[in-house]
Symmetry: C2
Subunit: 245 residues, 2 copies
């Protein structure tokens, strides 16, 4: 799992992208193989800015202004419903985009994008997206793919399913995160850094912090996963998978 420079391949592939040194967004799904015209638009249009933890990239009910592309850091998408319950439905990792649903749906943002770790974000304004879509018809096809594959709704079926026990939902979340948090294996055990707090876990799987805490303890008692603060250690990935079934 190491490349020729000794770097973690997984990390490089999943989170930083090999071409990011040239253009941070060029290696992402939506922007690969753009023709020259739309590539020029992209390069001149994109505005890079940094956000501190706790700040918000866009707010629920705001009008969509463009597409946001996360270069590094971590962002959580959360929705506040009429009951005042905060529902987090998506974590945004480097190399992923957000803001397109309300843009293409032509309605206000239905979620807020809250920054969890200091983040660098590329913003591509609405007008330039429009122009790029005109210059390069294949771009819309790639956006279609992105939206169709949106992990938010897909994961919700198992992460936020009332009849499923909290234990099942939590296990599933840990499994999903293990694939996105550049986990590395230490003599058989899978180990990764949990990028979020307990309250975010609770919000993602639709439960309370207290129950998250208790369920974690329960999983430790059964030797399924071990938590050390924000370190997650999985002795056997197969055992974790069996939990889900």
């Amino acid at each position: 799992m190491k490349d020729y420079k000794g770097q973690d391949v997984h990390k490089l592939g999943k989170c930083l992208h090999s071409k990011c040194s040239l253009c941070p967004v060029s290696a992402l799904t939506e922007w690969t193989n753009l023709n020259d015209a739309s590539n020029n638009i992209l390069q001149s249009a994109r505005q890079t800015s940094t956000y501190q933890p706790g700040s918000t990239i866009f707010h629920q009910n705001d009008a969509p202004l463009g597409v946001y592309c996360l270069m590094n850091g971590l962002v959580i998408l959360k929705q506040m419903d009429v009951h005042g319950i905060e529902t987090a439905f998506r974590l945004l990792f480097p190399g992923q985009t957000c803001g397109w649903r309300s843009l293409f749906g032509e309605h206000p943002h239905q979620a807020s994008a809250l920054v969890l770790e200091a983040s660098t974000v590329c913003f591509i304004p609405l007008n330039d997206i429009e122009n790029m879509l005109l210059e390069d018809p294949s771009l819309s096809r790639r956006f279609l793919k992105t939206i169709a594959r949106d992990p938010g709704p897909a994961n919700a079926v198992v992460l936020r399913n009332p009849p499923l026990a909290v234990r099942t939902r939590l296990t599933h979340l840990l499994l999903i995160l293990s694939e996105q948090c550049m986990s590395k294996s230490i003599d058989g055990d899978l180990c990764y850094h949990l990028p979020i707090q307990r309250k975010h876990i609770a919000s993602l799987i639709g439960t309370s912090v207290e129950t998250v805490s208790r369920t974690i303890k329960e999983l430790e008692d059964d030797s399924v996963v071990f938590f050390d603060r924000k370190k997650v250690l999985i002795p056997s990935i197969e055992k974790l998978r069996r939990e889900v079934e």
Copy 2:
């Protein structure tokens, strides 16, 4: 709420579409204002078939073959997860399309489309969709809008939210259905025909049939809604809305 022919405008607009007599699919969002070339493709490509209740239009894990467009009838989209729990996440009413998520996402169907009422369905094969997208770039923009506005994921936030009480989720479902089931008002009261069984309600809001039954009774005790078999009577829509908040 009556148009010049005395017909129910709501019914006409929401469910049957004025142009359906000419071409059943031409008035739908995705197919409006197609240019001549792609319109020709559509007219020659679409295959109309009828389905009986209990039959399945496509199965989970099938490869996507094209887009399905419901002319009349009723279809439910349900997903079977690894735990064997059937999760219904979407009702398909006449004038709505399905099958595009897996098609554009380039992965197998993640749900089955089960026919609840005898249905007439137009099928447009993948190849023809491709050709239409090439002939008319604006079509992809309309599909982007459709996917971005997919009510399935949008409704899930409130219909399938573990911390929300069953009562709240059920109320919300009744509210959503009242807008889609051509409800008519009889001297102040809102009344409509519930197109689904108790087990489908249970599946849509993630609970058991028994609890659905009990919660319905509870709502009747509080005079929020009244059920007579599959007739739903809402004395006050405002009272129902207050329930949700």
